[in-house]
Amino acid sequence: MIKVENLSKIFRTGELDIKAVNNVSFEVPEGQFLMVTGKSGSGKSTLLYQLGLLDTPTSGHIHIDGVDTDELTEIERTRMRLSALGYIFQDYAILPTLTALENVMVPLLMLGEHKEEAERKALRALKRLDMGDRMHNLPAQLSGGQQQRVSIARAIAHGPKILFADEPTANLDTETSMNVLQAFLDLNNEGQTIVMVTHEVDYSRMGHRIITLADGKIVSDKIQHPN
């Protein structure tokens, strides 16, 4: 599903080169729930940005579903983000002027769904995350946990091949975090490939596999239980 080859991301600040991701290679098979962990500044979020096509690597290759993403134009990368990937941000990143339902509808509309169909699918995704009764609420009227669930609903509504989650529980309390993780587990049980970044060791144990980063390099890659 995902194949990463010699991936590096270097930030140049004046004379100094910072290797946020340093020559990393790994593969993620379909249906796997991969946890990427590491200390703050280890490069896990940067790695996720490259995998999620939100940023371009300095060198190396990322193949998603057999497609070499280096070959893609900006328009094609946007198209792939829309159709094949789902991305959940640490701070939810939902659109403040749209209701919960509309936030989830936007990618569906962009995929060419008619409004009624987009609304139906969005509502189904929200209900799945117990947010059906808050669908007409604006983000400002939702708690952090609810906003994160809207963000997850938006990421899964169109049935992406891979779901990326960047520290989705970082701003949530324990109970809400567990609810969010349970949602991920449920999705994974249905075959959803998930790559999640977390610095919480306990949470990382819920995945099939844990990749640990330090200074941009993989220092451990453990299969906990096969998917």
Binding site: Y49, L54, D55, I75, T78, R79, M80, R81, L82, S83, L85, Y87, F89, A93, I94, L95, P96, T97, L98, E102, M105, V106, P107, L109, M110, G112, L138, R154
Partner: protein
């Protein structure tokens, strides 16, 4: 063909998503921010229409006054080698048969010396208070029907047909109203309503009482107006051949066509027939051309300023929503859909601002200025703004808004998606 269809399909999707985002943004944006942007757009529109319109209106007011009080829709004047219109009574009969004829006036002109202190000049040490002026002989009843010139009195009253011993003096002839300290231009110093003045023309003198002072901002202001029989008497004129015949047509009738009809009937053999625009003084026409150019220049500058204003407003709006745009890009919304969303919002602001601007111009400003003209020395300035011109300017404003809205959206969208999302 499939590639073309894909492009069209994608474009339609972009429009749908852009419209979806734009309508929600507008519906839920801060009401004060939206009001401020619409207010700026309205002011921008007013700047385009009103500033140039008033400038052109100052001279248009003068032209309108010349047409209304002076030339009418068409004017008949003497041939170049004649001092009066030949066969005036016959011409008037023909004029009355014109399709669309509304009314007319006949005027008689002459030159004269006007003297105010003639009773005191027996003493040779006294300076004579004297001025040269045009005599304008009118039929007061006809004038009242032709226009409301009788309402343009600063002091005193307008003439009646029986006022053979009274005159009206134009305000420019009186130092009281037009103080001029120039030896080459004189006016009368001690004349008021009720004063007696001596008018000498063609060697004939007669004493008249000043019945009123007129301020019309047309030729009457430089003339002494009296009943037509008096001018003819002072000029020793025994026929009825006049200096001017001014004709008003009913609304909707073409003055150029009426002129052609008069020429076809042979009036051109006896007199010169002109439409109003040909008959008004060349100075006024030249001023109109100059003011038209200035008005156009102001519109172009106004448009440039408005485009920059819109650009800044939308740019600031887009900058403050950089993260929002980043998120949209991050979840796969195309650049074009985001651009359409911003352009749609800009069009909404422009249409609403222009609409309110049009309503303000035609429901408030234009009627107000028409009722209270701008008091300019040579005209009663009006606001020149017609529906076609206003709609054209609104169209130009909307078009420039599309460009001015598109560029900042494009600039923000071009920025790195991740940087926009993370706000770095």
């Amino acid at each position: 063909m499939p590639k073309k269809n894909n492009f069209i399909n994608q474009f339609m999707v972009d429009i749908r998503v852009g419209r979806f985002l734009a309508t929600r943004d507008l519906r839920r944006s801060n009401i004060w921010t939206t009001s401020l942007i619409v207010f700026v757009m309205m002011l921008t529109f007013l700047n385009l229409v009103v500033v140039g319109g008033i400038l052109v209106g100052l001279i248009q007011g003068a032209i309108d006054a010349h047409v209304k009080y002076g030339t009418g829709d068409l004017q008949i004047s003497p041939l170049a080698d004649r001092s009066a219109i030949q066969h005036t009574p016959q011409i008037i009969d023909i004029v009355k048969q014109l399709p669309g004829y509304k009314n007319h006036v006949v005027r008689y002109f002459g030159g004269a010396q006007i003297e105010s202190n003639y009773r005191a000049t027996i003493d040779p040490r006294t300076t004579r208070d004297m001025v040269s002026a045009t005599l304008m002989g009118i039929n007061p009843d006809q004038e009242r029907i032709f226009s409301d010139i009788n309402t343009k009195m600063m002091e005193g009253k307008f003439l009646d047909n029986s006022d053979v011993d009274s005159v009206i003096v134009g305000k420019n002839l009186l130092a009281k109203y037009t103080p001029i300290n120039d030896p080459s231009f004189k006016n009368l110093k001690n004349v008021d309503v009720g004063s007696k003045i001596l008018i000498t023309s063609n060697g004939v003198s007669k004493e008249y009482v000043v019945k009123g002072v007129m301020r019309s901002k047309v030729d009457f202001d430089m003339a002494v107006t009296m009943v037509d029989s008096e001018v003819r008497r002072l000029q020793n004129q025994t026929d009825f051949n006049a200096s001017r015949i001014s004709v008003h047509l009913k609304p909707g009738f073409d003055s150029a066509r009426a002129v052609q009809q008069l020429l076809d009937m042979g009036v051109g053999e006896w007199a010169r027939v002109q439409v109003s625009m040909d008959a008004i003084p060349k100075t006024v026409k030249d001023m109109k051309d100059t003011f038209d150019v200035l008005g156009m220049l102001l519109s172009v500058i106004g448009l440039a300023v408005s485009s920059i204003t819109i650009f800044i407003v939308i740019f600031v709006n887009a900058i403050t929503r950089r993260r929002y745009i980043g998120i949209l890009k991050g979840i796969g919304i195309t650049h074009r859909a985001i651009e359409i969303s911003y352009v749609a919002q800009a069009i909404f602001y422009a249409i609403l601002g222009s609409g309110i601007g049009i309503a303000t111009v035609f429901l408030f400003i234009k009627p107000f200025i028409a009722a209270h003209p701008i008091d300019f020395p040579f005209s009663d300035g009006i606001l020149v703004a017609d529906a076609t011109g206003a709609l054209l300017r609104a169209g130009v404003l909307i078009a420039s808004t599309i460009v001015a809205g598109f560029i900042p959206a494009r600039i923000i969208i071009k920025q790195n998606t991740l940087s926009a999302i993370l706000g770095r």
